[in-house]
């Protein structure tokens, strides 16, 4: 994995601190061209991995990337699925079965019967596989070396203790997409325990890791201890803690931690992308020097 991953929250009006900013972002990134322009700016600063939700609009972005193979030859996408609000709103409106009926590709029952009578044989993994395939359709032909489960689903399964589904996801993305599974969570230490108990070794876990301790369930100390003592590949997200910590201080903190393979951040302006990337590179250099001493 690259050291710096570029996120997509800013493109889809996800703002953890302000609904007003969220609407402003929605207006700013109305056109796909505005998104591509920002991705190109990130590439300018050596950021070649885009970690994104399987939002409908990402399909258009993928199309543009496919149309320009030489420009994006080194470009990687880490899909994060599912785009939860789409399903959550559908469940509120249609119920669990109704929502599945709407989103499982083709005719729900038709697909199941064709796919080996999943409902009758209780083979729910085949429903999951159909849903993964539906979400992955838009990335066809693109380089997607890591495929993530979104935190709403990861943490729901964690709370329900459904570790076999983590294993099934892990195996399927590897078998079908030759990709590694990644897990986004707001409960990193507890998730690592469960993944290890399910036999998933050295997992990729993307979690909120920041100086403010924001959304670090179980506490900042436990997170630091987990990073210090356990074997897994961590990606730090929400490093700015929704704005609670200054960018410089925020980046210094995550760069000082052990075992963080990648740092995920999103930004709308060229200036912010440039500053964040250069903070990461200069603190990395500083801490590598300290390590050598």
């Amino acid at each position: 994995m690259d050291r710096i991953l570029f996120g997509d929250n800013q493109f889809f009006a996800v703002n953890h601190i302000s609904d007003e900013k969220s609407m402003a972002q929605s207006i700013r990134f109305k056109s796909d061209q505005a998104i591509i322009h920002t991705l190109d700016q990130a590439m300018e600063f050596g950021i070649n991995t885009f970690m994104c939700t399987t939002h409908d609009r990402i399909a258009n972005i993928c199309e543009i990337i496919r149309e320009n193979p030489s420009k994006y030859s080194d470009f990687k996408i880490y899909p994060c699925m599912p785009y939860a609000h789409k399903y959550a709103n559908a469940v509120t409106d249609l119920g669990v079965a109704g929502a599945l009926k709407q989103y499982v590709p083709g005719n729900f029952f038709g697909s199941l019967f064709k796919g080996g009578v999943a409902y009758l044989s209780k083979d729910y993994e085949s429903i999951m596989e159909l849903l993964i395939d539906a979400e992955m359709k838009m990335f066809k032909g693109l380089n997607t070396p890591v495929i993530f489960l979104q935190n709403v689903i990861t943490d729901l399964l964690l709370g329900l203790g459904m570790k076999d589904i983590f294993v099934a996801f892990h195996q399927y993305v590897s078998k079908k997409y030759n990709a590694e599974a990644g897990f986004i969570t707001m409960n990193m230490p507890a998730l690592l325990d469960m993944l290890e108990s399910a036999g998933i070794r050295n997992p990729i876990i993307c979690a909120s890791i920041n100086k403010a301790g924001f959304r670090m369930s179980g506490g900042k100390e436990l997170y630091e201890q987990t990073l210090n003592t356990r074997t897994f590949r961590a990606i730090a997200m929400q490093v700015l803690a929704g704005g609670a910590v200054s960018p410089k201080e925020a980046i210094q903190y995550v760069c000082s931690l052990p075992n963080i393979q990648s740092i995920l951040f999103g930004a709308s302006s060229r200036g912010n992308i440039k500053d964040t990337a250069s903070f990461i590179r200069s603190y990395d250099e500083m801490y590598q020097k300290v390590d050598k001493i």
């Binding site: 959550a88 669990v96 729910y124 409960n187």
Partner: protein, 337 residues
């Protein structure tokens, strides 16, 4: 360990189940639902004991507490049965379909000294909790107006019918969406006493309203406006906000950001004259398990602490939720034609 059962494993039920499943002091004694598919998945992948008959679950598992997350029209009868058997109850919002159903349940819970809580989670959102703190100190002076709003993209085109599209079962934007804002106003300022006028509009739904606009008069004499629409696609998810005007200042808050304006320098510690902005990140206490928002875990933690006898005064009691039921009824009756 507190033994907790769940009745209704839909969207909210499953979410509560995951939070309870991760709670160190809780043992899930059983899950009950009518969907074969949901139970099938739970039986295959979780260790929870599953039932299709809640009475059987209660008699076999004898839970200390039960979380009820079934369609609203079933709340009253089910909650009564649970209370009669001495079981503590957490029930999803809104509390009762008909306001008259609430009183006997409030009395019964009091008589039996049972914990009773309704799922209005906004009270555990850091920004709204701070609004409550400011208002209880009279920080913006005498309140003369409020504007409570919620918008979101639940019904954005015509679709098939479910219980949520049936007014007799507790469906519609008023009960499902607007109830959150009404409850928040009841809590922050004062319970709704009368509704001079209201408009319930259908945008895409055939049999229920998708938007609610109403004038509200509260029991402390303050009046204001309610504006709720669940067919607004310009919002990514449900967005709830309140604006409260006082003679010494103004509060504007949603679940992420709190903005307070003070007319002069006479204001609480940490605030100053003019605009003050605070974020939920600074106002929200950490939880041990996070799913969809700290507030969902915090409300369940409160319920479990209360069952254990550790929590203080009840928040979101049947009694407070019954004020919201009453306001819903008043809004329906005050329709402007």
């Amino acid at each position: 360990m507190i033994k907790v059962g769940l009745i209704g494993a839909g969207k909210m039920g499953i979410s509560h189940l995951a939070i309870l499943g991760a709670h160190p002091d809780v043992e899930i004694s059983g899950v009950c639902d009518t969907s074969k598919m949901v139970l099938d998945v739970l039986e295959k992948y979780s260790s929870f004991k599953c039932y299709t008959d809640y009475r059987k679950m209660i008699s076999e598992r004898r839970p200390d507490a039960v979380v009820v997350a079934v369609p609203t029209k079933m709340h009253a009868a089910m909650v009564r049965e649970l209370l009669e058997q001495g079981i503590h109850v957490f029930v999803e919002k809104p509390f009762c379909l008909h306001p008259s159903e609430a009183e006997p349940l409030i009395t019964l819970a009091k008589q039996k000294n049972l914990v009773n809580q309704v799922g209005y989670h906004n009270k555990w959102v850091g920004t709204f909790a701070e609004v409550k703190r400011l208002l209880s100190r009279n920080a913006i002076g005498e309140i003369y107006h409020f504007h409570g709003q919620a918008y979101g993209p639940v019904v954005v085109k015509q679709k098939q019918d479910t219980w949520r599209s049936s007014p007799d079962e507790g469906g519609g934007c008023l009960m499902d969406y607007a109830s959150h804002v009404i409850d928040l106003i009841n809590y922050l300022i004062s319970p709704v006493q009368s509704v001079p006028s209201s408009m319930l509009k259908s945008v895409f739904s055939r049999s229920v309203e998708d938007a609610v606009f109403a004038m509200l008069k509260l029991s402390n004499g303050v009046s204001g406006v309610l504006s709720v629409n669940w067919s607004d696609e310009t919002y990514r998810k449900m967005t709830t906000s309140v604006q409260i005007n006082g003679r010494k200042g103004k509060i504007v808050s949603d679940a992420n950001e709190l903005k307070v304006f003070f007319n002069d320098g006479e204001c609480p510690q940490g605030y100053s004259k003019g605009w003050n902005v605070k974020y939920v990140t600074d106002l929200t206490p950490q939880v041990d398990f996070y799913l969809r928002g700290e507030e969902y875990t915090a409300q369940m933690d409160h319920f479990i602490s209360a069952v254990k006898g550790d929590a203080g005064t009840g928040i979101n009691t049947f009694e407070s939720a019954s004020h919201t039921d009453r306001a819903i009824d008043l809004i329906r009756k005050a329709q402007f034609s």
